[in-house]
Symmetry: D2
Subunit: 341 residues, 4 copies
């Protein structure tokens, strides 16, 4: 089969012909009908420090996908051939302390698809049956592939109350954009969306942000404080950008809630007294999706029509055009990019 691989420990990737994966007894083989690009893939493609320390070439990368089950391992019982599925990308052991206390998303032996194992930038992928999430067949695969990052947004947004509250969202990549849709659906009364890219701020406005702030031309903390008086009730950090983290805390009201999904390129310097202690803030770190309550919400919001993933998917490429796709993502002038193997 065709597969986009990290063949060497250096920037870039290569399309190769490789054998279709063999199945373990509890795995299913999925014909990948659509896959999409996450910031993580960009790190791997660009071969930054994190990628160098974590990823072992050669391997197939990519983890967002949707497709059809074409083969079942000998012990599979929950998934049928022909099922349409997305992949939960966190492979848990369901046996450790964290898994046994309902924290499988931070399993002690967690493996991440397309990072620690072969991924989805390929014609086929083998995944544990537990990780195959059934999709309603009415959802096109090229939309369903974006459910995984929608799940990150669901996990982040609903880590605290949203209804009737004012929310700031720093970072308007696809997960930030999904969060805007979710905050709107959940009755946030103000949604302040912050980014430095006009393309994305424009999308944010269309998806329901009540105010967009271009951090390259305006101080977002000052602006949010001006608009709200005392700051927002909820701050969602989705940028992994230190100045955003600071501005978000500065424009948070006392007693407010913070959820951090963004991953930072290095240690950050923080005024912990004023940001957390005196402010009596509650800060939650967010990782992956709750297994599997998040996925039920992902399905529910789409079924009700409150969230339409089509609105964040802006570009579609053939897998062979991966070079163009990664270049476009680098520019930031896009929402979610889908590739068809």
């Amino acid at each position: 089969m065709k597969a986009l691989m990290k063949t060497e420990a250096k920037p870039g990737a290569e399309l190769r012909e490789v054998p279709i994966p063999k199945l373990a007894p509890r795995e299913v083989l999925v014909k990948v009908k659509a896959c999409s690009i996450c910031g993580t893939d960009q790190h791997i493609y660009g071969w930054d420090k994190w990628a160098q320390s974590r990823v072992k070439a050669p391997m197939i990368f990519g983890h967002e996908f949707a497709g059809e089950v074409v083969e079942r391992g000998s012990l599979v019982s929950k998934v049928e051939i022909g099922d349409h599925v997305s992949g939960e990308t966190h492979i848990a052991d369901y046996n450790c302390f964290q898994c046994r206390i309902a924290n499988a998303h931070i399993c002690e032996n967690l493996k991440i698809l397309g990072v620690d194992t072969n991924g989805s930038y390929a014609e086929y992928i083998a995944i544990p049956e537990n990780n195959a999430i059934h999709n309603d067949k009415s959802i096109p695969h090229e939309v369903a592939t974006a459910q995984e990052p929608l799940g990150n947004a669901v996990h982040t947004v609903f880590a605290q109350d949203i209804s009737g509250r004012r929310v700031s969202i720093f970072g308007c990549g696809p997960i930030g954009l999904c969060s805007i849709m979710l905050c709107k659906a959940a009755g946030a009364t103000e949604i302040y969306a912050v980014d430095a890219n006009e393309y994305r701020l424009n999308m944010a406005r269309k998806l329901g942000a009540t105010l967009t702030i271009n951090a390259s031309s305006e101080d977002p903390a000052k602006r949010i404080l001006k608009e709200t008086g005392k700051g927002v009730d909820v701050f969602l950090e989705m940028s992994g950008h230190e100045p955003a983290l600071k501005a978000g805390f500065e424009s948070l009201r006392g007693g407010g809630d913070v959820a951090i999904l963004g991953v930072f390129p290095k240690e950050v310097t923080m005024d912990i007294n004023n940001y957390i202690v005196f402010k009596s803030a509650t800060v939650r770190g967010i990782n992956g999706r709750k297994l599997f309550s998040t996925w039920y919400k992902v399905a529910a919001f789409q079924k009700s029509g409150a969230v339409d993933l089509r609105k964040i998917i802006t570009h579609k490429f053939k897998l062979e055009e991966y070079g163009k796709a990664f270049e476009l993502l680098k520019s930031g002038n896009c929402g979610k990019i889908v590739m068809i193997p």
Copy 2:
């Protein structure tokens, strides 16, 4: 001044001329610009068992209102003449254990406006300054009077998570109707509204119920179970009707949440094993409004446009026409009824 009074311990009421109330040092005098009718007023008007046991005639009843502050007691510091206000109807002492642990809505020495003290069916009312809730002057008084029951709905609906969940609402009086608007605003994915009155079910549909069920012609538990498979995630009881309570529990999924605002005419018989224990349900009793976080949400949802109280106000009368108003309410063929003193 003109005042609608319970003059004797019997059904009915009487319009009388009485002196304008004198103010205690921490009270303000409000010129009542609009008042509205609550189920409680109907109990007092009809002089049912509850009213007989609780209300001492002669007194002015009514507690939902909005108006303008025209006089301040000598120690008032938080309210100015000319302010537009609604009244929080629970008068707490802010000194007891419950008040000191942030439960002023169940103050140990609670008095209810228009039940335990003279109420708002009059040209003027004296209320403690703490109970004067500032209204944005853009809200007409005849809309603002309905914020108090909207507050009951806010308290009930947000006693548990709503976003992305399926909700049943039993009872489509004004508070039930407000709850439908709130559930819709908060991203409930299905809203099943149950009542026996077609007028109200029709309103429910317009306000966002995804399905209405007429309990006089269809078994609501069966229908909800048929629609949902396993039952709803959240059941809001707003009818005070025993069969509704039962149907609500029967159509709740395991691990679901229940909020009960309805008040029942007598003890109810319950299968506590199957409704609560085996079902691992969480049941919350709801009383009044959280002081004062509920009022901030009441304002926020109106300001954002998510809730428009105009949609539940169906009739307007002069205070003198109280007889017609109470008759109409008895028929159930109305939403919120406003009276102008």
Copy 3:
């Protein structure tokens, strides 16, 4: 092997010689070193209405046990031969909606050991490896068998805050007694234990109840209200007795928490207005143990010494003496009764 069976649909039981169970691929065979009697077993033995409607004779009953793993099914990976284990008695499918949202204790396809499947009153029992809970080998089997009901107590007690609060416990059977130990360990400032049996009230006192109330000679609601002024913060219902349910609600303060584990012989009549609505109570139904966070707490409290199950185990019989054991339990003059197969 020797097994205590319900051989016919009538009161009583019979000791029989039956084949050792064969293992499914994911099951383990446990040599039962100790088993113990639960109220449920008493219902089955006595063949009451519930038992008649649920249990299909012939079957081996009993579900509390501890022992040693002696054989593994072909696909078992988490349990080794020689492991000391207790049994989680709720067999979940780990595939349904409830299991996938971390509610395996109310799995949609739940089977209960010794009720829906062959149980532990036998020399050997076959259980799914997921249900084998590892015990520290320092815990004697005849103590470890009581961890399952301790788990019920952990689930009930920690369904709400306990530290620094006043608690009433209605019902001082083994689970009630475990709850007393847990409330004491968790820093409840007053523990009011209610029962009608002096033997058990005496145990309650020794285990940490600050006051015991014999409901056959004193009105428990009045007494608790007298002691507390406004009622307790937390009411744990562990009796399945309607007057206890009422007394518990009556002696609960406004805004208090209720956890109900007791199962009632029939529908109960409740003043839902005063017990739940006006009181703004939160009521939680409790079923089984949280899988598996409860078991980690069970282990932690024993390891720290805060809970010593030896203190609630009052009698030990050979399995052959089951007649005596069930007779003793009927009298109520006992704590937990252990049987050795």
Copy 4:
């Protein structure tokens, strides 16, 4: 009256004779029978950067105290002459948004006794009646003065579940020591106490720490990880020391809870990815005491005997001996120091 004052903007303090304070209408005058020294007082005495930026000399400092009410303002209604009281040191306006949503401890117009207003290092102090907390007369004043920091500990410890969990406490000053007593009372199964002072670690051991770690001679993160395998469930930061903050996060398990009461001398540098995001940690900033639920818990734990403040009070001085007292505190070889005016 005699008063210990910050007379000039420089290190040290001076005992002066000043007039007894005059009362505002809602204030009471308290004869200070005992006061005690907080770290904040040490900052003011030593005149560090924070003190320079916040405190305006001349003023009486000190805020922990207990005494007897000797005079009432004209509108006081909740406090009687002769009442024994402690002082809640956060003076809120009970009118702002934060106060009205039950966050009076972070009032938007907060004043702190002995920091923003004249304090308790004096023979008399005037405080708002709302800030006078009634003490049981059986508690000696020189014990009651330490209830205010006990309240900080209550607020911090019970910001998350403690029962049956493993806890690390970094910083064994008086609040840390109170926290150890509370964690023990609440059934924490392991309490790891960390400090660099042997005197305090010795106290920690006596009060219930299951292990003490001297951070000057041993790496606390390594040790806690060695003891626990996966880290503690709860980390309480009470030192305001950057290396402690880091060690605390490093020895926290995934999904753990953090409460930060410590105030840091400057910005800290944090690996936010590994400490919060990937770890899915929940971090809560703690400020003051919840008004007034914390105070009810403070009373409850003392009444039940679970907390005995005598155990943390190690030294008593006359107010005139303040020089010695502050010198002793600087050495760290003390628990709580009480002064008698």
